[in-house]
Symmetry: C5
Subunit: 354 residues, 5 copies
Amino acid sequence: MSRYFTKRTINRGKAPGSLVFIGERKSDETILNLIQYNEKEIDDFIIAESDLESIPEKIDTEKTSWLNLDALHNLELMKFIKSHFHIHPLLMEDILNTGQRPKVEDFDNCSLISMKMLQLEGDEIAVEQVSFVLSEGLLLSFQERPGDLFDLVRKRLVEAKGRIRTAGADYLCYALMDTLVDHYFDIIGQVGDKVEDLEDVILNHQDQNISTTIYKYKREFRVLHKAILPVRDMLLKILKSEDNQFKQENRQYLRDLLDLCQQALESVESYREQLSDYHNTYNTIVNNRMNDVMKVLTVFASIFIPLTFIAGVYGTNFENIPELTYKYAYFIMWAFFVVIIVGMVIYFKRNKWL
Amino acid sequence: MSRYFTKRTINRGKAPGSLVFIGERKSDETILNLIQYNEKEIDDFIIAESDLESIPEKIDTEKTSWLNLDALHNLELMKFIKSHFHIHPLLMEDILNTGQRPKVEDFDNCSLISMKMLQLEGDEIAVEQVSFVLSEGLLLSFQERPGDLFDLVRKRLVEAKGRIRTAGADYLCYALMDTLVDHYFDIIGQVGDKVEDLEDVILNHQDQNISTTIYKYKREFRVLHKAILPVRDMLLKILKSEDNQFKQENRQYLRDLLDLCQQALESVESYREQLSDYHNTYNTIVNNRMNDVMKVLTVFASIFIPLTFIAGVYGTNFENIPELTYKYAYFIMWAFFVVIIVGMVIYFKRNKWL
Amino acid sequence: MSRYFTKRTINRGKAPGSLVFIGERKSDETILNLIQYNEKEIDDFIIAESDLESIPEKIDTEKTSWLNLDALHNLELMKFIKSHFHIHPLLMEDILNTGQRPKVEDFDNCSLISMKMLQLEGDEIAVEQVSFVLSEGLLLSFQERPGDLFDLVRKRLVEAKGRIRTAGADYLCYALMDTLVDHYFDIIGQVGDKVEDLEDVILNHQDQNISTTIYKYKREFRVLHKAILPVRDMLLKILKSEDNQFKQENRQYLRDLLDLCQQALESVESYREQLSDYHNTYNTIVNNRMNDVMKVLTVFASIFIPLTFIAGVYGTNFENIPELTYKYAYFIMWAFFVVIIVGMVIYFKRNKWL
Amino acid sequence: MSRYFTKRTINRGKAPGSLVFIGERKSDETILNLIQYNEKEIDDFIIAESDLESIPEKIDTEKTSWLNLDALHNLELMKFIKSHFHIHPLLMEDILNTGQRPKVEDFDNCSLISMKMLQLEGDEIAVEQVSFVLSEGLLLSFQERPGDLFDLVRKRLVEAKGRIRTAGADYLCYALMDTLVDHYFDIIGQVGDKVEDLEDVILNHQDQNISTTIYKYKREFRVLHKAILPVRDMLLKILKSEDNQFKQENRQYLRDLLDLCQQALESVESYREQLSDYHNTYNTIVNNRMNDVMKVLTVFASIFIPLTFIAGVYGTNFENIPELTYKYAYFIMWAFFVVIIVGMVIYFKRNKWL
Amino acid sequence: MSRYFTKRTINRGKAPGSLVFIGERKSDETILNLIQYNEKEIDDFIIAESDLESIPEKIDTEKTSWLNLDALHNLELMKFIKSHFHIHPLLMEDILNTGQRPKVEDFDNCSLISMKMLQLEGDEIAVEQVSFVLSEGLLLSFQERPGDLFDLVRKRLVEAKGRIRTAGADYLCYALMDTLVDHYFDIIGQVGDKVEDLEDVILNHQDQNISTTIYKYKREFRVLHKAILPVRDMLLKILKSEDNQFKQENRQYLRDLLDLCQQALESVESYREQLSDYHNTYNTIVNNRMNDVMKVLTVFASIFIPLTFIAGVYGTNFENIPELTYKYAYFIMWAFFVVIIVGMVIYFKRNKWL
């Protein structure tokens, strides 16, 4: 799991800043999507890989442009983007390294924001890196593979809902970041609901594999924590810095996003505590149950072992055992047995073992 | 439980700021209550839903007004309130999202304060969101359903006790916040008393379901912690800010409230530690008891198993067993048994097993 | 235990600042003691409750005065004190609420300092609230019941030892606070000594109720922690504030007191860690002992159960069991038994079970 | 393990700053390597120990020089270096003490940076100290033994890749530090992969020595933590200081390195949490398994012990046992046995023991 | 153990600042040693107790003087020192209270530095308080009993090694503090080596008393932690303060000492974590071993208890048991036994119990 968050340097020893894709290649497709808009119009292009050279002429600096790339592994394309948009080598290295921790970095005329897009695939959380390069009037977004959570933002752009068509590239960037953080809540909610459901299972001790289940949920919340914590740090950094690509009038939206991240972190923390409490409670329940099992065994053994011994004694073949010939001996033995059993049961009852 | 504190975004992808109620609809009723007062007079209106349009003319800007709404789910009403009182879209979104973390937010001419109203319903803590919108001379309060803790404040207003009639809307807001925090103490006290009572049960080990009980109390304190911690942060933020809706002369009341929150948090923390100590102590007691059970079993088994074996040996039907024909063999066997039993008992006594 | 630190609001809904005694009424007596002194003289009055009105004329503003009241529950008296000495309503509320967390609060011309007086009563720590109201030349002290730790300070005043007669009301206040903190050390030391004595008991595992004992000491250190931590915060606050009732020349004594509190907190923390270590060590010892018990049981059962089975086989009454008629069969069986026993013992020895 | 991080002072009582090698002598060889370069040329010398005196004349102050020494134990050499390069005694002491914690220290005209070079040797992490002395145009590097991770940097120097040939000694120092930190990631990744693989082993409980394995990985992450944490502190200190050997234009590379260290620390922390979760989960699984074992034992014993007792009773040799002569008694006994067995099985099924 | 760090006030109620020795009297001897030196000469006097009055005339203000006293319990001497050297009463109180936490305190013309001298006596760490009073040209040092770690510093003084003869009283004070901290490392190293050795014992589970041993080492590291942590705080305080007895040119030595303390603390912390890991690992190993024991018991009991039952059935003396008369019945029974045993063994093998 932690693999998604650990930079495995393949370019060790190479000049820092050289162009190498680090990560798992998740797709073979290369999709480029350019959306340009101002208050009145909006254009949406899908650009063919062969048609790369046409990008510069397509971009209309009068409008706000959003160029979305779904193919980090395509180094040719990356090289073209790097040179055409004058992207700093260190920045490009960060984009291409999908093991990157979420962060913001300010360069001369642009800011890099990298975050994790989390998606629940079955029971596992799939982690994908999304990087935004934000400059005046232009937002580049880089994803590892096609398919994302941004369709609703695209719809809002087309339908010209809210401030989105007028508020510039930084507001668009905020809207996309907000979508990612919103989806963290969806995942927290979905995993959290499963965690809440565990409570009944544990308290009614219906299941044996609960420790494995608890472990798995803990792991998912660790993934969430590692995705969200640096986003909070990042937002704090953006808000503290006097001078970056986010305009003052859009800053209150970022503050809102910061509150959301704080809340998400507290939820994650709370669920982790809850899982720890589950674990402790479950352990105590298991111990109690073992105690019950031991008591049953002990009660049975303590009652019958001495009785069996007595019976064994009168099963011996000694020639001279006076009791054997006494007429009521057998019945006396039974009476004796009953006395012992009743005594034992009373004793165990008093000790609350029965 | 954490559900009350996790924003589940239904408006994902919509423009941030659009009007959607997020949460569980707890009531169908819509109650509007307007209280207006100055030092000399006080008016108390219940406004019918159909009579909404009359609100503006009823509000007397010479007096301090408190408009209380018990119906977040009523979006028509919310829309009217929003447009009539010029409430910022982000602020309205916060009010309508009942999964909101308690917070304060300052807007141009008003402040939003959202808190949790906690109420013990049976053994569970019910969580309801209360939002205050405070501006000069006017306090709006939004609740999820009718029924609240504010009747005593209303009584004080009517009876003109203390500073409340003269000290403005910010003091009224403080008085309501104080009521909520005071009630946290009531709940801490009530749950805390039950926790204290647990001590006897644990130390005298009278109950098996204690781990479940401990778990449940831990959960309640987690709810309390999540309700109180952000209130403290909020008060710190209000007190640090130079310029907000709270007047300097009322600030010492807020400082007092901050002390209360700090104290409430420490109480919660202390009870949580106490519950953890309970858990550990209980586990050790269970272990000790299991040890006792094992010892009983081991003592019985260790004494009688060898004896039964001996008896078994003389129960075999071999034709040639010399001992069987010896006249006192049976009595010698018994003597041997007694020696073994006595020896074992001494051995176990010395090892403190008996 | 936490009850002493949790404000249980009886005045919920009343105007903040109204006069209500909150806490357990610990005494019916009302004792007023006024001590006035300057470098040369000292007067010590016990004032009767009926004689309240005489207080104002008795106070000599040329001297330093210390008025000590042992009766928080006497609201009549409190009202008189409040109005005569012009005490702020919030301050009076803090004095009367014995569930108050220790704190300092600065008002216009006086400071409130509230602390806990701890006393060991048997095995329990009794908690009493002591509040000081310090103004120029006058110190009021409020206690819940007669009997305190201040007799030695009174003796020093009478005997005119050290700076105490010349250094003003703030130094007197410091001397009283110092006495309270010094007594914390006494209690830490006394409980700590008992904790140290536990070590032998645990490491030699002589006792079964140790987990209960550990729990009880943990609880006492939690009481101490809750009494001392806010005192440290309070002293830091006094020392940081430029302008309060403590004169610069007496501040180094407060710094000394701060060091003491820090040291007391570290001692408490250290004892708590020690108790946790005890708990863990004790658990492991219990586990080891259970392991030993299980081994004894297993060794006995594993050796004799198969033997008993063999004996049982030859106790069957089949008509045709060839071995039974063989003359040495019985002795061969015994030889076989011995071989098995010896083999088992060697096996268990090798596995370190014996 | 901690031995590599604990200064064992052999020079106790000597003047601080005297020349003593503290640590394990890891090699007998002494290798000196001098690389000098500017944008156009690069020279690479291996200097014989006997040829020490030639170093001064070889160093060309027009170029950037990197003198690498692989022999801390060679005090003669150290003395020469110390006096020739005017190295401060405290700095030299730090270089020679291989138990040093990573740190940066600024001296008049040079900075000392000491770090740990970690290498996986089999399952163990080998720790070696590398110290850099950075001054204008000259970088000295000190290693404990020949063989390092810097070959790729040397290759980049020779191939003149990237900025390395033009950016001065501080950039070279950064490149070497980057290589060390990069290698931390390699090790975290390699150990981390083994940790991830553990998950299957634990959840399918195939192995008994897992607690030992978990312990060993925890130890390795502790080594990593102790190597990386001070590097982060060191970088923070370098970046905060206005004035040191690192030029402003190279500082963003250090910021990048700081991010890497932060990320490495979070990875290490996350793996440690994961290992703790493993441990807890494994303990619960072991407990559950023990419970299962106990249940099997209890079921067998509870069913057969009473039956054996009944059989024993009718094996007694009393003369008068009426049942024995009844013709169908034996079959009735069997019927009774079957009823007991079936009843027990149903009982245990209902209690979920079977 | 914590006793050495807890002030047990015997002077409760006395004027703060009165002269009382608090602690265990560790020696009856009184030794005074005066060393005076400048760059050229050094004089070393042992002063008899009767010769106290001669001290003033012996002290040569042109030289640096170090007066070392080994007798805190000698209150007469202390009084003389106090009055002759004009030592502040609070300072004197701190020197005489051996339960003091290490600290620095600046007075008008001198600084008090108090530290703990730790020495390993057998397995226990002996704690002794050493206080330094540093003023211009004069260092007083106070120890609880004769015998210390400072002989090597004395030797360096005599041999005039390093800066020590020229660098003033503050450097001397640093050298003595450095010696104490250096010795902390010796102790950490020695206890640490024993801790490292534990690893084999635990992983090969050769010992039962390991939990006691772990507990004892934990206690020793707690002593070390309590001695070192305040020293770090103290050094930070000295370095932060603009104006104290330590000259700027000697401050880098203090920074070095601070690094050492930081490193010592990290080592202590790391060993404590290691001991906790040991404890957890050991617990799991014990649990696993118990599991093994239980399995052996269960396997034996489950196999033989049913067989013994069968044998018991055919040992009954019913008149009509048809099987008994069948010729091969006995052999069929044995065949049945073998089938059951083999089946059980296969079953247990499949469940990995064998």
